[in-house]
């Protein structure tokens, strides 16, 4: 892994909290409000870091480990993404399985941390989280299958790197479908509208928020930052599929990437302002829809 | 000479026991029984070491088939004799004379059957076995045993009568052959001139002998007497019947099959044998389901195994060897199971589904019963597995996958039925000991009662791992005589 790859990674880490900020800003703009500044999340994190910690008596170390493990595994996951559009810091055949595994590990840790409080609200949130995830993950793998078919390589670097650029001309339709379904995944996995409403304040309707109900202070900071990072990673996936950057020089590729992330954030904001959030029982159907898109994308290439 | 002795000694002793008023008690007859049994076994062993010459002008001879059956009978008889010692401590038959005498007479008759090479003599011996056992079935003299005896007597007498007719048919097949056909009804001569025998008569003879001796074997649909009889007779008698008596009957069928095979009429005989075999399997499977009495269960299991025996004959090839091996395994295993059932009946009054948790009350017998369940249903590592597998193999080799499938299905159903009853009795919480039960505690598993079954179990287990050389080639020769091949 090269130096600039790490620098790129660092940049990504730094800019991550801005991505949800952009989404929120867009939404408030479209709904005619001023809304919080784009960099609000940085402020929140700074504040939370400084706060003291309060733990429920029912909790065990699992409660504290949750946020840490989640964040750590997300950071490791980031290592597999070719930010410069060519080569990721880490790659091996089948590392896409590792990528998915890391996301799952993060989820596992967070959800258990939530359940550790013993509150039925967390239980409810956990149940919803895993339910949604069990439909999101197959969809993601379906996208991966399509990408493997297009790129003929079993590693993320290969899939998002040069081979993908080469594949666009003949597999364009399929790849754009993949992009769309990855975007839906992004919404679902990061509990955005129409799956979840990050702005809601009614516990019974929450999904992601309710799991972390009892986390506060630095723990919450880790969780919030992790959420932003996860959103960013999915954004990277979407951008890498739709905008192959293998041809460009490292710097240009990065610039394009961050521009793309901005666009994705805007899109998220737009979706949030034009769509209402669907009923929970409908969420699986939404994801099955996304899976159907990815399936079509796959079949287009298996044909 | 030894052959003559084998038949004469038990017969003489039987007559003495019957006649001499001195033997009203039980001790002496039983002691005699034991001695004769051992002597008999010793003689039989000597036959294995030094093969005997035919005697009585060829009427008595020990060929592989006969020797197998004879040995089986002898072994079972000794085991039974040992068992009786323990048995009589708990249940006294009305008259030791009838008891010992009947058993000895049976031994004599069975030896005659096993050694007879003159078919009419074979028949006489066979009828004699039937009659000698009747008083034993009838030992308890209550309504149920009476009914059992009556059914047994009449049905098997009719069957045996048919066999007699069959024998006469065979004689006239020989008579009609024209030319010198050798000495009448003498097995070697029949086989030697088999091809000149009058085919129509030979066919008829085969069918009647099959139905007749099949009745005594307990092939469906002539099996009807079997559950009633085995259910009511004292267990050790049932054991002898299903172990030794049926084997003798099978020997009868095998003899005529030898002739038919030698005459090249196998293609005529095989379908009939297969048909009876499959029917028996089916009937056994049907009646085993939901059976509540172990002894009746074993009776149906015996019907099943008789079916397998004739199936093996019918399938020919390696199947014949399978039948011979199965004959041995089945005889031993059946003796084992009936003796165990006897122990349970002694301890709890009746070996029926009413029992629970025998593993607690009668550990040894219960263990033997469970092992026996797996042995009788042809599970490895018991000997039955090898023979059943051989027969199955014969079915596939002979290109009868459907027959094989039927066999498998029947075996599966029978296993379910047997397991349901046996395991139901063995497992569970034993009922709280009631007032009248302390006797049962006393009955528990005296060494005499367990030794016999254990011995038999050991042999059956051994046959699953190791078939001694002499036995193997005797069985192989027998199979070849039956128109089959070795393994």
């Amino acid at each position: 892994m090269t130096a600039e790859a790490l620098i790129a990674l660092g940049l990504l880490g730094i800019t991550a909290p801005a991505v949800p900020g952009i989404a929120v800003k867009t939404k408030s703009f479209l709904t005619g409000r001023r809304g919080p500044p784009v960099l609000q999340l940085y402020a929140d994190l700074a504040k939370l870091i400084r706060k003291g910690r309060v733990y429920s008596r029912t909790t065990t170390p699992i409660f504290r480990a949750g946020p840490v493990i989640a964040l750590a595994s997300l950071i490791v996951a980031a290592l597999f993404l070719p930010l410069d559009g060519r080569e990721a810091p880490a790659r091996f055949a089948g590392d896409l399985v590792a990528f998915a595994g890391l996301l799952a590990l993060a989820r596992f840790a967070l959800v258990l941390a939530g359940l550790d409080t013993g509150s039925s609200f967390e239980g409810l949130g956990a149940s919803r989280e895993v339910t949604i995830a069990s439909f999101a993950e197959p969809t993601m793998f379906l996208c991966f299958v399509a990408l493997v078919l297009a790129a003929g390589d079993l590693s993320l670097s290969g899939m998002f790197g040069a081979p993908l650029a080469a594949a666009w001309p003949h597999a364009g339709a399929s790849l754009s479908l993949v992009g769309v379904s990855l975007f839906v995944l992004l919404l679902a996995e990061n509990s955005r509208v129409p799956v979840d409403d990050p702005a809601t304040h009614l516990e019974l309707t929450m999904i992601h928020e309710v799991i972390v109900l009892d986390h506060g202070g630095p723990d919450l900071a880790l969780i919030l930052y992790g959420g932003a990072l996860k959103l960013t990673l999915f954004g990277v996936l979407v951008v890498s599929v739709l905008v192959p950057r293998a041809g460009l020089s490292g710097l240009a590729a990065l610039a394009l990437l961050f521009a793309g992330l901005g666009v994705v954030a805007l899109a998220v904001g737009v979706v949030e302002s034009v769509m209402a959030r669907v009923r929970l029982v409908r969420v699986p159907q939404l994801l099955v829809g996304a899976a159907a898109l990815a399936l079509v994308a796959t079949i287009l290439q298996l044909r | 000479m030894r052959l003559l002795a084998l038949c004469a000694i038990p017969l003489a002793t039987a007559l003495v026991v019957f006649a001499a008023p001195a033997f009203r008690g039980r001790r002496v007859p039983v002691a005699l029984l034991f001695v004769v049994a051992c002597a008999h076994l010793a003689l039989v062993t000597s036959l294995w070491v030094v093969p005997p010459l035919p005697t009585l002008g060829g009427w008595l001879a020990a060929d592989p088939l006969g020797l197998t059956v004879l040995t089986l009978t002898s072994v079972l008889f000794v085991v039974t004799a040992i068992y009786i010692v323990g048995y009589l401590r708990h249940e006294a038959p009305r008259s030791g004379r009838v008891f010992a005498g009947g058993l000895l007479a049976f031994l004599a008759a069975a030896s005659v059957v096993a050694l007879a090479h003159h078919l009419a003599m074979l028949w006489v011996g066979m009828e004699a076995t039937t009659l000698s056992v009747a008083p034993l079935v009838f030992l308890r003299r209550d309504r149920r045993s009476l009914e059992a005896t009556w059914k047994y007597l009449v049905v098997s007498s009719v069957g045996i009568a048919l066999a007699l007719l069959g024998t006469f048919f065979l004689a006239s097949a020989q008579g009609q052959g024209g030319g010198d056909m050798g000495r009448p009804l003498l097995l070697p001569d029949l086989i030697a001139h088999a091809r000149e025998l009058h085919p129509a008569w030979l066919r008829a003879a085969f069918l009647f002998l099959l139905v007749g001796f099949g009745t005594k074997m307990g092939l469906a649909p002539m099996h009807t007497w079997k559950p009633d009889t085995y259910g009511e007779a004292p267990s050790l008698v049932s054991g002898l019947m299903s172990g030794a008596l049926t084997s003798c009957a099978f020997l009868g069928v095998a003899r005529v099959t030898e002739v038919v095979a030698a005459a090249g009429l196998g293609s005529f005989a095989q379908p009939v044998l297969i048909a009876f075999g499959l029917l028996s399997l089916a009937v056994a499977a049907t009646f085993v389901i939901g059976q509540r009495d172990v002894k009746r269960l074993l009776a149906y299991s015996s019907v099943e195994h008789m079916g397998l025996l004739v199936l093996g004959l019918g399938l020919g090839g390696v199947g014949a060897y399978g039948s011979m091996l199965h004959l041995v395994n089945n005889g031993l295993a059946k003796g084992w199971m009936f003796l165990v059932a006897g122990n349970i009946a002694l301890a709890t009054g009746a070996a029926t589904a009413g029992n629970r948790g025998l593993i607690r009350t009668l550990p040894a017998s219960a263990t033997l019963l469970v092992l026996g369940l797996f042995a009788v249903t042809g599970s490895p590592p018991f000997g039955m597995f090898v023979s059943e597998f051989t027969i199955l193999r014969a079915a596939f080799d002979g290109g009868h996958p459907w027959i094989a499938a039927t066999i498998l299905m029947a075996l599966a159903v029978i296993f379910v039925g047997m397991a349901a009853l046996v395991l139901g009795m063995v497992l569970g919480e034993p009922p709280a000991p009631t007032g009248r039960d302390p006797g049962a505690v006393a009955v528990r598993e005296s060494r005499w009662l367990v030794a016999g079954p254990v011995a038999l179990a050991a042999i059956v287990l051994m046959l699953g791992f190791y078939i001694p050389g002499p036995l193997r080639d005797v069985l192989t020769r027998a199979a070849m005589a039956l128109g089959g091949t070795g393994p």
Binding site: A65, F108, S119 | L207, F465
Partner: protein, 648 residues
């Protein structure tokens, strides 16, 4: 080979010495080590000569041998067997006097020995013997607590299922021997005489699939599995779920070794069974709230994953893609070993919970993490492993299977559709995660949902040590794929009939970086935790109650139950979920039904029974009826005689 023999003898001796614990421990561990050494040697590449006994039995000599395939299974058997045996000593200790504990230990030893014998047997007869001894020993162990009615029922179902499987194996070898015309039924001979006709070959493959499927508990042959596992004592369930059901997998793989490349349809069927078993297994697991039944259904799920690997391998063979074949079989073998480790770990941990709380009902428990930290930690590791999370062993094997399927997708011909199975695998993984979040969360976290008779305590060291050992194994394998993947590939190429090391190279190459990754991940997790602790020092954390969203006094009945947790997922699979939902205004509960057992087999058997009862009339009534049957037989045979007489 001799070493294996020595090992088995020692194990059996240990069984006989079950009354004296220390002796038992010594002999058993000695035996397991003795058996494991050659297995490891073979896996690391050298070969062992076969042993040929020719006892006086029909069907040729008895051969015993040890190749990579046998070795990997032998390893699983011995390691898990030892763990379960040691655990059992403590687990059954309080039963001494009430039960024949010595017999139980003896049976366990017999079970382990027969399992090992089954995987080294190289001829039909010894294989069948070992197979049935194993089945019977397992049965007797399952019904150890036979005074409970449901245990007897479960035992009955199991023994019938396994015996039917054995009968099918009879058929298998009978057909195969007949096909090749080999009187000698040693595996060598079977392999040397391929069946003549496609039909016979098809029969062999089909019978093998059903027979071994019954043993391995793949849907729809799984019906006996949850019953038996729930009924047995914990360490027995662990051994059964860990290795006994794996013998079905062994059978399938061995069949391929001997049979050669199977027809494509077989591969597709296996793949389909794997997919169905995987998904339904985990869905049904979600529906359970008896911890042992739940774990049992997860065995069905993992068998599904393994069969996905086998199917991919078989298809790779059928369509001539050696790499895919090797990967598929390797993944199957490796996942078999891993599942043996973490599933027995989970069962044993569950056993330690049941041992102290006396209930298997998840919804009655909760908050056990505080009283039983060791159990909780090991169970957590097991859960993460079975879900397939890095850096644990479950991930490694699933990674291999994934590779097989993904490469299948990019293979040109019909095989490419197998790639879609990737989705199924992912779905299984996600559902498994849901299910284990449920289990861990409800069992160990939060608060007790009912007041227990006695306060739960951590189990004795004798039960914890095996847990720790197994957990350690899971972690180690997970951390160093480089150590386990090449041997697995060796097994794979053996099964695929390809010289080792040629076809599997790309995968072997990937093992190195994968190791780097897993280690790095583990390190980063530690580092993160370290940093967190280091920087988290400032200020003592305050204690308070969980925030009830304004509701001050939570009661146990308010805690989220397993039923409620699983409800949203189960709603999605309405009729397949295998649950009956009871919703009242106050309470919500689900109870699981088995679609195959409760809705097909049991009614069918009732039908058979009543049919038989009806046929009983043949045996009613008196003598004249009996005689008429004899007459009927005579008449029938006379008719036959006439028929033949017409056209002899």
């Amino acid at each position: 080979m001799t070493l294996v023999a020595v090992g088995l003898t020692l194990i059996l001796l240990a069984g006989l010495a079950a009354s004296r614990e220390t002796l038992f421990r010594v002999l058993l561990s000695a035996g397991c080590v003795a058996g494991a050494i050659p297995a490891l040697a073979v896996l690391s590449g050298d070969t062992v000569r076969d042993v040929r006994l020719s006892p006086a039995m029909p069907f040729g000599p008895w051969v015993f041998g040890l190749d990579a395939l046998s070795a990997v299974f032998l390893l699983a058997i011995l390691s898990v067997g030892a763990a379960c045996a040691f655990y059992g000593l403590t687990y059954l200790a309080h039963e001494r006097g009430r039960r024949a504990v010595g017999a139980a230990h003896l049976l366990l030893a017999v079970l382990v020995a027969s399992l090992s014998l089954a995987v080294v047997a190289r001829a039909a007869l010894p294989f069948l013997i070992a197979w049935e001894v194993m089945a019977v020993a397992a049965y007797l162990l399952v019904v150890l607590e036979h005074e409970r009615r449901e245990v007897r029922r479960a035992g009955m179902i199991y023994v019938v299922a396994t015996h039917v499987g054995t009968l099918l194996l009879f058929a298998l070898f009978a057909i195969w021997g007949g096909a090749g015309g080999a009187t000698d039924l040693s595996f060598q001979a079977l392999a040397a005489h391929p069946p003549f006709s496609a039909i016979r070959g098809g029969m062999i493959l089909a019978v093998a699939l059903i027979a071994f499927g019954l043993k391995t508990g793949a849907v729809p042959f799984h019906f006996w599995l949850p019953e038996a596992h729930a009924a047995a004592p914990a360490h027995v369930s662990a051994l059964m779920s860990g290795v006994v059901i794996k013998m079905g997998i062994y059978g399938l793989l061995r069949t391929i070794v001997l049979f050669g490349a199977p027809a494509p349809w077989w591969g597709w069927v296996v793949l389909a069974l794997g997919a169905v078993s995987g998904v339904l297994g985990v869905v049904w697991a979600l529906a359970q709230h008896d911890i042992k039944r739940l774990l049992a259904f997860h065995s069905v799920e993992n068998v599904g994953i393994i069969m996905l690997g086998v199917g991919a391998g078989a298809l790779g063979l059928a369509y001539g893609h050696p790499l895919i074949a090797v990967l598929g079989f390797a993944g199957a073998a490796l996942h078999t070993l891993n599942h043996a480790l973490f599933k027995s770990l989970l069962f044993l941990a569950a056993g330690s919970v049941i041992h102290t709380t006396g209930t298997r009902e998840i919804d009655h428990l909760g908050g056990l993490a505080r009283p039983m930290p060791a159990t909780t930690a090991t169970f957590l590791i097991g859960s993460a492993a079975i879900v397939g999370l890095p850096p644990l062993n479950g991930f490694v094997s699933e990674w291999v299977v994934y590779q097989a399927l993904l490469r299948g997708a990019s293979a040109g011909d019909a095989l490419r559709f197998a790639g879609l199975a990737v989705v199924v695998l992912a779905f299984i993984g996600a559902l498994a995660l849901a299910c284990f979040v449920k289990v861990v969360g409800v069992l160990y976290l939060g608060t007790p949902r009912r007041a227990l008779a006695t306060a739960p305590r951590e189990s004795a060291a004798g039960m914890i040590r095996p847990l720790v050992a197994l957990a350690a194994a899971c972690v180690v394998i997970g951390l160093v794929p480089i150590a386990v993947v090449p041997p697995a590939l060796r097994v794979g190429s053996l099964v695929a009939g390809i010289p080792a090391g040629t076809a599997g190279l790309p995968a072997a190459a990937a093992a190195g970086p994968a190791t780097v990754f897993t280690v790095a991940l583990a390190l980063s997790l530690f580092v993160a935790w370290g940093l967190y602790v280091a920087f988290g020092r400032r200020g003592q954390p305050a204690q308070s109650a969980t925030w009830g969203c304004g509701y001050p006094s939570p009661t146990p009945r308010m805690a989220y139950t397993a039923s409620s947790f699983a409800a949203p997922l189960l709603d999605v699979f309405r009729s397949f979920a295998g649950v009956r939902i009871h919703r009242t205004a106050q309470a919500f509960a689900t109870h699981a039904v088995d679609p195959v057992l409760d809705e097909v087999l049991v009614p069918a058997w009732r039908g058979v029974r009543s049919g038989a009862a009806w046929l009983r009339h043949a045996q009613r009534g008196g003598l004249s009826q009996y005689l008429l049957w004899v007459g009927a037989a005579v008449v029938a045979s006379l008719l036959y005689l006439l028929a033949v007489g017409r056209n002899p």
